[in-house]
C-alpha cells in the first residue's frame, strides 16, 4: 500500500490547473473518474507514482477529500486492515476504475483504498 493520489478541491479548475502547470511547472497526466463519480484532472508530481487530483468543489460539498492509497489487491488489504481493527465506511465497491473501500483514522481523516484495474 502506498500513497498515490492527493486530492485538491477548487472552485475554479482552470485557474488551479494553470497554477500547477505554469507556476509549479507540473504536467497534466490525464482525466479520470476516481472520486465521488466526478471527472477529475490528474497532475503528475515529481515524486514517481504520486499524483494530484484536481476536483471541482461543489458549494454544498464540505467533505474533506480522502487520501488515496494504492493497492495491488484491495480485498486482501481490506481484510488485513479490518483484522487490525480498522473500521471501514463500506465494503469494497466496484467503480469504473476498479475496486475501492474507504476508512478513517481516529482523528476522522479519511482514506480511500483503491485497486486500479485495467479492463481492456
Amino acid at each position: 500500500m502506498n500513497i498515490k493520489y492527493i486530492p485538491i478541491y477548487t472552485d475554479d479548475v482552470e485557474k488551479q490547473l494553470l497554477f500547477f502547470t505554469e507556476k509549479l511547472g507540473l504536467e497534466i497526466y490525464g482525466c479520470k473518474n476516481i472520486l465521488f463519480g466526478q471527472e477529475c484532472t490528474i497532475i503528475k508530481t515529481r515524486n514517481p507514482g504520486v499524483f494530484i487530483l484536481v476536483l471541482k468543489q461543489a458549494q454544498s460539498n464540505t467533505k474533506t477529500p480522502p487520501i488515496i492509497l494504492n493497492t495491488d489487491d484491495c480485498l486482501n488489504d481490506y481484510h488485513s486492515l479490518k483484522t487490525a481493527g480498522i473500521d471501514f465506511y463500506n465494503e469494497p465497491e466496484y467503480s469504473p476504475i476498479g475496486l475501492g473501500a474507504e476508512f478513517s483514522d481516529p482523528s476522522g481523516n479519511r482514506y480511500l483504498l483503491i485497486e486500479e484495474r485495467i479492463y481492456s
Partner: protein, 287 residues
C-alpha cells in the same frame, strides 16, 4: 502445485495440472471451471465444449458431465464449487441490495439454474480469480479471506451474467420475453460452438444446425445480440487466441496461423495489425 481445498462452509476449490480423462460424473454444487493454460474439453449431454484461458464454463448443481484433456500443452485447471447455502445467502444479500444484479425469473423460471455455457473470462471476475489463486498458491489458510474472495467472485460473475445473458437478450428484436430468452439460449449454443471449434473450418450451415436456427435467423439475431456477425466473432476469437500463443509459446508465426484456423499468413498479419495496431512479431517481442 496441486491442491483441493474444502472450506468449513463446504465451498471447494481445486487447482492442478490435468492430463487425464474424467468419466461421467454429477456436479454436486454450482461450479465455475477455468483453465490457466492449454484447454480442457467438457461433454454435457450431446454438447462438447472446450475452455481456454480466455473463457470459463459454469455447471449447475446436478448436471452430468465428463471432461478430458487432449492438448500438447500442460493443462492447468482451476475450479470452484459453491455450497448451496453460501449461494443462497449470497443471492438473498444481493437481491436485497441491488436487484439489477440478479433477475432469477430470467433463468427459464428456474431460480437456481444459470445458463450452462461458455463465458468470456474478463473484467472483475478475472482480477478476483487471479488474486484468489495467488493467495492459495502462496498457502493462505485464512478462510474468512478466502470466502471474501469467493463472495466477490460471485458478485463479478453475476455482473458478467447480467451483461452476457440479460443485456444481450434485451437487444433481440422480439416482443415476447420468453422468445428472447429462447433465441439467446440458441445463440449461446452458436457462441460455444465457435469457442470450441474456432480452429476448424466452420460453415454457417453447421453453425446454424448446431444452434437450431435457420442461417438467416442466426445471422440476423447473432448480430443483434453480439454486435458482430458470427464471422467477425470468430476472427476476433482467433486473433485473441493467437495473442496467447504468441505470448506463451515459441511457435513460429506460420504455425500459430494454422493452429488458430487461419489459412493465409498474410491475411492473419493484416487482421492482427488492424485489431491490435501492431504486428504479431512486435507483439511477441513486447509481451
Amino acid at each position: 502445485m496441486e491442491y483441493l481445498k474444502i472450506l468449513k462452509n463446504n465451498n471447494v476449490i481445486y487447482s492442478g495440472t490435468r492430463s487425464h480423462k474424467l468419466t461421467l460424473q454429477s456436479n454436486t454444487d454450482f461450479s465455475i471451471k477455468f483453465v490457466f493454460s492449454g484447454n480442457e474439453n467438457y461433454s454435457i449431454g450431446r454438447r462438447n465444449l472446450s475452455i481456454y484461458p480466455d473463457s470459463f464454463l459454469i455447471l449447475n448443481k446436478g448436471t452430468n458431465y465428463s471432461s478430458a484433456v487432449d492438448c500438447a500443452l500442460p493443462v492447468h485447471s482451476f475450479s470452484i464449487s459453491f455450497d448451496e447455502k453460501f449461494m443462497d445467502d449470497f443471492k438473498n444479500c444481493w437481491q436485497l441490495k441491488d436487484d439489477t444484479l440478479l433477475k432469477p425469473n430470467y433463468n427459464n423460471g428456474q431460480e437456481n439454474e444459470f445458463s450452462e455455457t461458455i463465458y468470456p473470462f474478463k473484467g472483475d471476475l478475472f482480477f478476483n480469480i487471479k488474486h484468489l489463486k495467488y493467495q492459495l498458491d502462496h498457502g493462505v489458510q485464512d478462510e474468512i479471506l478466502i470466502n471474501e474472495y469467493l463472495h466477490h467472485c460471485l458478485i463479478s460473475y453475476f455482473k458478467l451474467y447480467n451483461e452476457e445473458i440479460f443485456q444481450k437478450a434485451e437487444r433481440l428484436n422480439f416482443l415476447n420475453r420468453s422468445t428472447k430468452i429462447e433465441i439467446l439460449r440458441r445463440l449461446n449454443l452458436a457462441k460455444e460452438y465457435l469457442y470450441t471449434n474456432y480452429n476448424q473450418n466452420i460453415s454457417l450451415g453447421d453453425l446454424a444446425e448446431y444452434s437450431c436456427l435457420s442461417v438467416n435467423h442466426l445471422l440476423r439475431t447473432f448480430k443483434q445480440a453480439f454486435y458482430l456477425t458470427p464471422h467477425q466473432f470468430l476472427v476476433q476469437l482467433r486473433l485473441q487466441r493467437a495473442q496467447v500463443l504468441l505470448k506463451n509459446t515459441d511457435y513460429p508465426v506460420n504455425e500459430v496461423v494454422s493452429l488458430i484456423g487461419f489459412e493465409c499468413p498474410s491475411s492473419f498479419i493484416r487482421l492482427f495489425r488492424e485489431h491490435f495496431q501492431t504486428t504479431p512479431l512486435k507483439y511477441r517481442q513486447s509481451a
